[in-house]
Amino acid sequence: MPVTLTIPLGLAHRPRVRRRRLRRLALGALIALGVALLAAGFWLPAKAELAQHLLNRAWDRTTDGDAAAKPWPWADTHPVARLTLPGGDEPITVLAGASGRNLAFAPALLDGSAAPGTHGVTVIAGHRDTHFRRLAALAIGDELSLERPDGSVYVYEVTDLDVVDSAHAELRLDADESIVVLVTCWPFEAVTPGGSWRYVVTARQRF
């Protein structure tokens, strides 16, 4: 970039200690900021990945009968289900309560929504850039399954893929059959978080 390349000449014509310090300070701060931002940016997916390992261990304890097995000692949530998406990847452990904090670790079951396999809508939300990146690959007719802590497995078939504006739409939680709704942000490749579009995958229980 020509502009930045001309700067050294301009700055060099009268060196002074104070200016150099200022420059170094600005530079140091900028590097620190950049490194911090990058680290934070990479830490989020790393944390999401790491949490799944801890959650898988908690899941094993859950299936062994510890109904509220905590993935780490200070956690205020517990695994409620395991979600298997098509494609042969590891099942994803789902936490109770779709709070921002829980979503950082795993996809989470929305409070007040139905338990997997029961009548009603089971809403599971996940981050588009971590666990639920894989939703982009889902197609109508695909099969997904939810395993409950008691070992029962419910199979669902994807029936709808919708993009909705969350500023205007709401999720209905009542149904007279067992429905799973997977929610993530849309578009998948967007950089800024907090957009109002949501990608909604609806799947109905298959018997």
């Binding site: 970039m1 502009v3 930045t4 700067i7 050294p8 000449l9 700055l11 014509h13 009268r14 060196p15 104070r18 200016r19 200022l22 420059r23 170094r24 530079l27 900028l30 590097i31 950049g34 931002l37 990058l38 680290a39 940016g41 990479f42 989020l44 997916p45 779709a98 921002g100 979503l103 950082a104 929305l110 409070d111 007040g112 029961t118 009548h119 809403v123 939300a125 588009r128 850039d129 971590t130 109508i140 709808d160 919708d162 993009v163 969350s166 709401e170 209905r172 009542d174 149904a175 007279d176 993530t184 942000c185 849309w186 578009p187 490749e189 967007a190 950089v191 800024t192 978080p193 949501r198």
Partner: protein
């Protein structure tokens, strides 16, 4: 001559210029980065372009063929005629097909829990087809055959006590079909006020539904597989358009009124003299016309009240309640209405024991409050419930024992055992209430177990007060649990929310030998709780029996306890004897002392009384399921009664078929489930959670910052490298001078 170039670095003080350059470069890098980012996201967005007019407040849904569809809104016209305590309600709904396919519409129609549904008509243009009553399986077969043959057909089925399903087949493109359902109900009298509740929508139920014989198992045996799914309750997981209703009511109360109106809807009321509307089946015209047709004789022209909603249409998101208060202090001690059909006279009696019968109770009380904090209570309901519970605590007296049970998916209690009510306990209870959050399921059975199995204290009268919206599906199981575990306790229900399951409230209180109270709004809490505590604090009439001069078939068989302010409502049938006055005596006990009241006189003749009697008989038969009566016997007796009185029941359905085919065999039929509105104030829907991490953004910003830093690094390093080459530096130092 050399032209002097303008130079910023000379125009400004050197230090300022230097700083400016640093920040300019940062700014430029940021702008460059942002531009790059904006381009990239714009591309990403284009890649997933969404082909519709999103932004409208509906969820669009896509079918397999890729087209988008929304359910058509439903127009409902609700007309009510009330004579005394009997109301005939006509619900006309217009099913409109604005699409290009033949349509089958399915709608869940909530009706009052004591509704006697006895008429179905289907109107296509000017043609009206009357519905016929059949055993449910037969009705479903008739409907299924008509549907397959391309004929317009309609079926009304009772899916649970107060939920009915209307299905309409073969609505042609661009066609309207009006489906009218009529039912009878009785007004409720409580604390000096009559009221009629008309449900407009329902709170979705939690848990496995009751599966009485006659549901899916039988259905699938009778119907082709593709049809069987029709009789599942429609999936209402989608948000639909708003359903609206017209409301028009004509009321002939038969007594001077102090007040008439509605606390749920804004209504206008006009008083006039004139003939009342008939409560006879199918009579929607004024009485005079009906008399001309020889159909109906009303006692006498009376004061009429004509009620209409202020807004021409009201959203169907809350129950409509119309109330009226008679002018003369305590209401008439008895209302007797009869109808003679053939050899049998049917009578409906309302006996109001005088207030003196209910003396203040001296017995110490123990009150166990059970509060429902399940997900369906979220929103205004839990606010109402908390307000009601706090209000109730404020009414406890020192020396009373109390405890609070909170339930959703799990059950928790304030204390392990009931404790004496003290200021400290009051404070602890208030803290307990404040901490309640509405989420989870409605595991009502466990809560009833916990409440009724609390350790008892001698000589204390246990009163269990249940605050819930009754959003449970397995009603029978709950009633059985109450009946088996009740012992000497009494269970009272308080209905919460704008559309509580009033069937559950009424029946749970019936099996709990208590009474039920509806709280429609937070503002109504104080008044309703005063009414309820007036009942809790007074002696109820118990062991009531009614003596008739002849053999009667009486419903309810076992007369419940009568609480202060409430009447005793009985339906009886006996052999018809012309011009015989009605005479009956009620005996009972109040606080151990005998009580007696004789009623008699010439009753008013009113059509529909036989239907109401039959409805009560069916309810009694269904109730006997809780006591373990054989299902086949119940079924046989219910079918017998329902067919005789043209009533929809769990085992009988109304079906109407238009013989003229509407659809050719080739044209396809599309099914559409029309969704009900959510109850007002309910949060049985959720906002979308935030589902993106700032990860990508952070990484981008980090990269940009490092890029800027990198370029600045070059800037700061260049002078230092030149410091190792002094002659160059010096030459450069001199350069400016030479230029000038």
């Amino acid at each position: 001559m050399r032209k002097r170039k303008f130079e910023w670095r000379k125009a400004l003080p050197p230090s300022l210029y230097e700083e400016l350059e640093v920040w300019m470069s940062v700014l430029l890098a940021l702008v460059g980065g942002l531009l790059l980012y904006a381009t990239l996201t714009a591309q990403a967005a284009r890649a997933d372009a969404f082909p519709s007019d999103i932004g409208a407040p509906t969820l669009l849904f896509q079918d397999a063929s890729g087209s988008y569809a929304t359910a058509a809104p439903l127009e409902t016209d609700l007309r009510m005629s009330v004579a005394g305590i009997v109301a005939r309600v006509r619900v006309a709904q217009r099913f409109r097909n604005s699409g290009s396919m033949y349509l089958e519409a399915v709608y869940v129609l909530p009706l009052p829990d004591d509704a006697a549904v006895d008429r179905l008509t289907m109107k296509i243009g000017e043609r009206v087809v009357e519905g016929e009553i059949h055993e449910r399986a037969a009705a479903e077969r008739i409907y299924g055959e008509a549907r397959a043959a391309g004929q317009r057909a309609s079926l009304v089925r009772q899916t649970s006590a107060n939920l009915f399903t209307t299905a309409v087949a073969n609505i042609a493109p661009g066609e309207d079909i009006d489906i009218t359902i009529e039912y009878l109900q009785t007004a409720r009298y409580d604390a000096g006020e009559f009221s009629i509740r008309v449900p407009m929508t329902f709170t979705p139920r939690y848990g496995a539904p009751d599966t009485p014989e006659g549901s899916s198992a039988v259905t699938s045996a009778v119907l082709p597989e593709s049809l069987a799914t029709l009789f599942e309750l429609p999936n209402s997981a989608r948000s639909g358009p708003r359903n609206e209703a017209y409301v028009h009511a004509v009321l002939a109360p038969g007594m001077p009124l102090e007040w008439i109106g509605s606390r749920t809807h804004a209504l206008t009321s006009v008083q006039q003299q004139g003939p009342a509307w008939s409560t006879a089946r199918g009579a929607t015209k004024p009485v005079n016309d009906a008399i001309a047709n020889g159909a109906f004789v009303h006692p006498k022209p009376a004061d009429l009240y004509v009620l209409d909603t202020v807004a021409p249409r009201v959203p169907m998101d809350r129950d409509l309640v119309i109330s009226w208060r008679p002018r003369v202090g305590p209401a008439p001690a008895i209302t007797a209405l009869t109808e003679t059909v053939g050899e049998t006279t049917y009578a409906l009696l309302m006996i109001l024991p005088p207030a003196e019968a209910h003396t203040s109770s001296a017995q110490p009380r123990e009150q166990i409050f059970v509060i429902d904090s399940s997900g369906s209570m979220a929103g205004e309901s839990i606010v109402q419930a908390k307000a009601a519970l706090k209000n109730a605590l404020g009414r406890l007296r020192g020396g009373d024992l109390f405890n609070i049970v909170d339930f959703d998916s799990t059950t928790s209690t304030l204390y392990a055992a009931p404790r004496a009510f003290t200021p400290t306990a009051h404070a602890q209870a208030l803290m307990f209430i404040d901490r309640l959050v509405a989420d989870g399921g409605t595991e009502i059975g466990a809560a009833i177990d916990v409440a009724l199995s609390q350790p008892t204290t001698r000589d204390y009268l246990r009163q269990v007060i249940f605050l819930t919206d009754g959003a449970v599906s397995s009603e029978t199981a709950v009633f059985t649990a109450i009946e088996q575990r009740l012992g000497d306790a009494r269970l009272f229900t308080i209905g919460i929310g704008s559309a509580p399951n009033s069937y559950f409230m009424r029946k749970a209180a019936q099996f709990g030998r208590g009474t039920y109270t509806h709280i429609g709004s937070v503002e109504g809490v104080g008044e309703k709780m005063t009414d309820l505590f007036a009942k809790l604090e007074r002696v109820a009439l118990s062991d009531v029996v009614v003596d008739w001069p002849e053999a009667v078939e009486l419903y309810p068989h076992e007369i419940p306890d009568v609480y202060a302010g409430e009447p005793l409502v009985l339906a009886a049938s006996y052999p018809a004897v012309p011009d015989r006055p009605l005479l009956a005596t009620a005996f009972g006990r109040a606080a151990g002392l005998p009580w007696k009241q004789t009623v008699g006189g010439v009753p008013s003749e009113l059509p529909g009384i036989s239907t109401l009697w039959a409805r009560r008989k069916i309810e009694y038969l269904i109730d006997s399921r809780v006591a373990g009566v054989d299902e086949t016997l119940i079924r046989k007796l219910v079918i017998e009664t329902a067919l005789e009185h043209h009533l929809v029941s769990p085992y009988t359905s109304l079906v109407a078929v238009d013989k003229t085919p509407a659809r050719s065999a080739e044209a396809a039929l599309e099914r559409r489930n029309l969704s009900n509105n959510m109850p007002a104030g309910a949060q049985w829907q959720a906002a979308f959670p935030k589902t993106a991490t700032p990860g990508p953004l952070l990484r981008w910003l980090g990269a940009i910052a490092l890029m800027v830093a990198g370029s600045l690094l070059v800037a700061t390093h260049l002078p230092t490298t030149r410091a190792g080459m002094p002659e160059v530096e010096q030459r450069r130092e001199r350069l400016p001078g030479s230029v000038s």
